[in-house]
């Protein structure tokens, strides 16, 4: 193994991502103040996921990491999705009482 590649993320790029994150925060606050019913939940969660993606990709440098770390991240998120999803197969179709 030689010197590992260090990708330096510029101040400008970090600031741009930060501004985007602030804008998305404003957007979530905005749409959840409106009466949109179920779309409120969906919208808030989609925006949160986009924000999380930006933080992981740029602030946490995942965009510049190798294949192993990316696959491990995918595996962790898949595990999370499976245990939330499978719990709801039970919860949603349970007969109360």
């Amino acid at each position: 193994m030689n010197e590992p590649e260090h990708h330096i993320v510029s101040y400008g790029k970090l600031t741009a991502i930060w501004l985007l994150l602030l804008a998305l925060t404003g957007l979530t606050v905005g749409i959840t103040r409106l009466e949109l019913g179920g779309f409120k939940v969906l919208g808030a969660l989609i925006i949160a996921s986009v924000k999380a993606g930006l933080v992981i990709a740029i602030f946490m440098h995942m965009k510049y990491e190798g294949r192993l770390l990316r696959w491990l991240l995918f595996l962790a998120l898949l595990t999370l999705a499976i245990f939330i999803g499978f719990t709801f197969f039970d919860v949603l179709y349970r007969q109360e009482g």
């Binding site: 602030f59 962790a76 998120l77 719990t87």
Partner: protein, 200 residues
């Protein structure tokens, strides 16, 4: 093969990510509880959520996003060979962490002074769903707050190591991994914020 001073850079990086995955699953469990009980008690959760101050929640979101920017810039500064700026950026991150905890303190105190805390008489005699909502609120924000405290102490310690030269441009893994931990704290809050403060 191995000589003194050789660092396993990739091993350290892999290690912190594996640890962060366990953190994701820890908070994932709390979010799962939230989702299941939201499904069971939608009206009580809506009442509980309206009891939280979304302005303070928004302020804390902006503070944490900004703190993450500073943490990322601290790493960029060190990698560019500017340890002094890196220390300043770490100082800004820790200041943001203190502001976050101060707001959290005001929020929690207001709730507790109104008799809303896990196991309080008010919640015991109230709707079961509200009791569950506030139990989860205190549990989730409590564990998250603990992470903020630990992260801030870690970054303050790293700043001292940068100052002493032990963490430097050639050997920056401690700063990289601590910054990753800090971003995770931000990441978790990105989900806590809409779930508890906004969408109910």
């Amino acid at each position: 093969m191995s000589h003194a001073g050789e660092k396993d850079y990739f091993g350290a990086k892999l290690g912190i990510w594996l640890f962060l995955f366990t953190e994701l699953l820890l908070f994932g469990g709390l979010f799962l509880l939230y989702a299941v009980y939201l499904h069971r008690y939608p009206l009580d959760f809506a009442a509980g959520g309206r009891g939280l101050d979304w302005i303070m929640g928004t302020a804390n979101t902006l503070i944490l996003l900004t703190s993450s920017l500073f943490a990322a810039m601290a790493l960029t500064a060190l990698q560019k060979g500017d340890p002094r700026r890196s220390i300043v950026m770490l100082g800004c991150t820790v200041t943001c962490a203190a502001a976050f905890m101060a707001i959290k303190y005001v929020e929690w105190s207001a709730k507790i002074s109104h008799g809303i805390y896990p196991g309080s008489e008010l919640l015991k005699n109230g709707a079961p769903g509200e009791s569950v909502f506030f139990a989860l609120y205190f549990m989730t924000t409590g564990i998250h707050g603990l992470h903020v405290l630990i992260g801030a102490l870690l970054l303050a310690w790293i700043a001292a190591r940068v100052k002493s030269g032990a963490v430097n441009t050639e050997n920056s893994i401690l700063l990289e991994n601590s910054a990753l931990y800090w971003h995770l704290v931000d990441l978790i809050w990105i989900f806590i914020f809409p779930l508890y403060y906004l969408m109910l």
